[in-house]
Symmetry: C2
């Protein structure tokens, strides 16, 4: 059994006396857990509390606050920014027993659910009511509503429906001192004072622990039209995005771009399009008019081709063809066949992408020569690129050299070091590339205002005591 320090022993004692049986786990039941669902290491913290209600979360935080015990929140552990990593002096607060899904309010099209509910379970509840939760991502079966809210998750439909932030009407969170902040607004319009839910969306659990979320639901789409389009110049790509967004009248929901190297890596032997083009666009529209949507989609692509925005195209004729295109796009694991690789999640204006990618490529070539590979793809319609770099040995020094090549050019491009994955522990050192000292200081002001003792997910996103170190 792992050693608990004196503070942890006192915390365990207090929690066990105040919470229901089974709420506190210690030792191997905690340290035997994986540190993340895609990680091979295990949880380092020897204590895990799993409250079964908002009141129990409040009790847990009140106890931890009184003893100055840092708390790391665990949801589905699908994050990609080392936001949930623990150390031996931490206590984990897991939302795994916050599982209530309230009946869908079909008249007002909202869904209230507890933070530990998976995204997939919430999607299913909406679909049973013939409505849709307009948020989807690959980790849907594991990631939790608390997690997607706390990280402002993106995913596959941002272009049409927005990020997680846009799907969240209200939030209940518990502050570091145990205060329950119930701000479960259910309306599209509410200007009665500060919109407090914004404090907890995308702040990665550093300002409070989300316990319940009220989600906006929408009408389900009835048609799905998908195409793969080839472009030889990046100006075609940006022109195509603008043209489809307009001609499809707001139904364009995905505009994924695969750079040539990535397409050549992930496309099957029977290639849907010849592999010599510079860019491949996976475009998808979600509509409501079965009688006319297919024709409209094909016409929009024909118009774009006639305008010189497309060099070649194939429109899916079946669900199987569509699934094959998406499976190709999602084959990120193919980049790992060549050894360790780093996956980045930058965002920048589409018009700057071509020159930015060229700068990254040049930098990597200067650093590593031919012993480096790079693949680029992502949600270009949202301004969000994923860049996979295989270079070096995977050690910390190699990682820093790669990170420098990817992140530093973002400053000049006005970009961001994270489009959707967040900062966690992993990217904190690079925040000054895209945020000013005044911005970082304001983040600290907020953190101090809501968590003055720095107990909630400490060290994530920003360091409270000193300026974030430049790498």
């Amino acid at each position: 059994m792992s050693r608990l320090n004196a503070r942890q022993l006192a915390v365990v004692d207090a929690l066990q006396s105040e919470l229901s049986p089974g709420s506190v786990l210690v030792g191997g039941e905690v340290t035997g857990r994986a540190a993340g669902i895609w990680r091979s290491d295990t949880v380092q913290a020897p204590v895990l509390v799993r409250p079964d209600s908002t009141a129990a979360v409040s009790t847990a935080l009140r106890v931890c606050s009184a003893l100055a015990q840092p708390v790391i929140t665990h949801g589905g552990l699908t994050g990609l920014a080392e936001g949930a990593l623990t150390g031996p002096d931490d206590v984990v607060l897991s939302t795994e027993r916050l599982q209530r899904v309230y009946p869908v309010d079909t008249a007002n099209r909202t869904l209230l659910a507890a933070a530990g509910v998976t995204l997939q379970a919430a999607q299913a509840a909406a679909e049973q009511a013939d409505l849709m939760l307009a948020l989807d991502l690959g980790a849907r079966g594991s990631c939790t509503l608390g997690g997607v809210a706390a990280t402002n998750a993106g995913g596959h439909q941002v272009l049409r429906y927005g990020m997680a932030r846009e799907q969240i009407l209200g939030i209940e969170a518990v502050l570091a001192d145990g205060t329950v902040l119930t701000s479960l607004n259910s309306m599209l319009k509410n200007n009665a004072g500060y919109d407090l839910k914004q404090l907890f969306i995308g702040t990665e659990g550093t300002l409070g622990i989300i316990t319940r979320v009220r989600l906006r639901l929408r009408p389900r789409w009835r048609t799905q039209e998908t195409a793969l389009l080839a472009c030889d110049h990046f100006t075609q790509v940006t022109g195509l995005l603008a043209a489809l967004d307009e001609s499809l009248g707001g139904t364009l929901s995905a505009f994924e771009v695969l750079w040539k190297d990535f397409y050549q890596l992930v496309s099957p032997a029977q290639k849907p399009l010849e592999p010599h083009h510079a860019y491949y666009v996976l475009a998808e529209a979600l509509g409501s008019q079965p009688a006319t949507d297919a024709e409209r989609f094909t016409a929009a692509i024909a118009d774009a081709a006639a305008a010189g925005l497309v060099s070649d195209a194939v429109v899916c004729k079946s669900g199987a063809e569509r699934a094959a295109l998406w499976a190709m796009r999602d084959s990120v694991e193919r980049t790992l066949e060549h050894g360790p690789a780093s996956i980045f999640d930058v965002s920048l204006a589409a018009a700057s992408m071509e020159s930015y990618v060229a700068r990254v490529r040049d930098c990597l070539r200067d650093e590593w020569g031919e012993a480096c590979r790079m693949w680029v793809f992502g949600h270009a319609g949202d301004g969000n690129l994923h860049i996979v770099v295989a270079a070096g040995t995977g050690d910390a020094q190699s990682s820093r050299r790669i990170e420098r090549c990817v992140y530093e050019p973002l400053g000049a491009a006005g970009g961001s070091i994270s489009g959707e994955h967040g900062i966690g522990l992993e990217k904190k050192r690079w925040l000054p590339v895209c945020r000013t000292p005044a911005e970082l200081d304001t983040m600290r002001r907020l953190k101090r205002a809501l968590d003055p003792a720095n107990l909630l997910n400490p060290g994530r996103v920003i360091d409270l005591q000193q300026p974030a170190a430049q790498a």
Copy 2:
């Protein structure tokens, strides 16, 4: 000339020495100004500073902060919640010289402009680039970008495009101590740390003074289809909203409901629909397909009628017919023909509207008997109703009695005392109806963190020192 107190004299002296000539006005040049564009009283503050740059705003706030001088921000003065009212000890900071409109970034579809630019000027800049700023409201010619951001304005297209918050990608603001916080993100996705712009959107100038705004632009719509529909039961209204939202595939942009009394008041002698129905819905779709949108709109309404959701309908055949319907909807001034009236801006779930309105009506009848009139209309598709009440003499006591009838039932209905107009000074006393003590306390925490001396728009939204008084 108005009397300046000692602190104001020191402020004027410091500002005049640090800012360009013409930046500081005193006396009649200030107190001769209207307190609001729809008000008959005048500005009470005897000092007005009008910086011509972000740096000058910073200087002004640094000076005022050093002297503990409260500052009230003035934009277009179109607010409806007494947010810009001043007293003799205040200093006004006007954004009127912050007028720069940067070239539209057509590739990335964004517009950067200074806070004093009117909404109409920003709309025009977008249109010149064949793009659209998806925010529109009646005060467009006077209201400023800083004001629509600070109040999270709503308006006519919220159902489709969202509030001002959804149109704002980045914000530059100056904090109370003069810190310039430049957070002018231009991307749809940016999860690199806290999303600081949310601090300034909808907080009514209490946490910082907005100096520049980066706006998201969208493709212009090409078609506009409008209809007036009659319903006899409120379940028809909610069913119709769901049906049109789905069948129009995201192009439904307005769903305004006029209760019978309001329709009877504002409809012309030649009524577009018989006046005996309980509800009238003004529905509008903005589309991109000139060849098919009209047919689609008519079919959607026919389907709704076939489903029993519509009792009678008229579809506009010309721009003149459309303009006449909107003019009717916008004839709020007709409610003032009977004497003084109070205009409310509540929001609540559509499914609760019918019972809520009945409760308000009963309360008013209990209070005032037949000497009371009430009209109801608004953006029902957004959950936002405007209620006009004519009762009493317009004195403060009458106002409180009317407010109690309108606001108190919102608590049980889970509604909000403001859908879009905000709180200002006017509604502060009623905030506890729809916000919990923990929420109000968290607002105060934020205010203290960013403006510890309570210098920016003090007293607006919340009182810093004591709990908001229950009326």
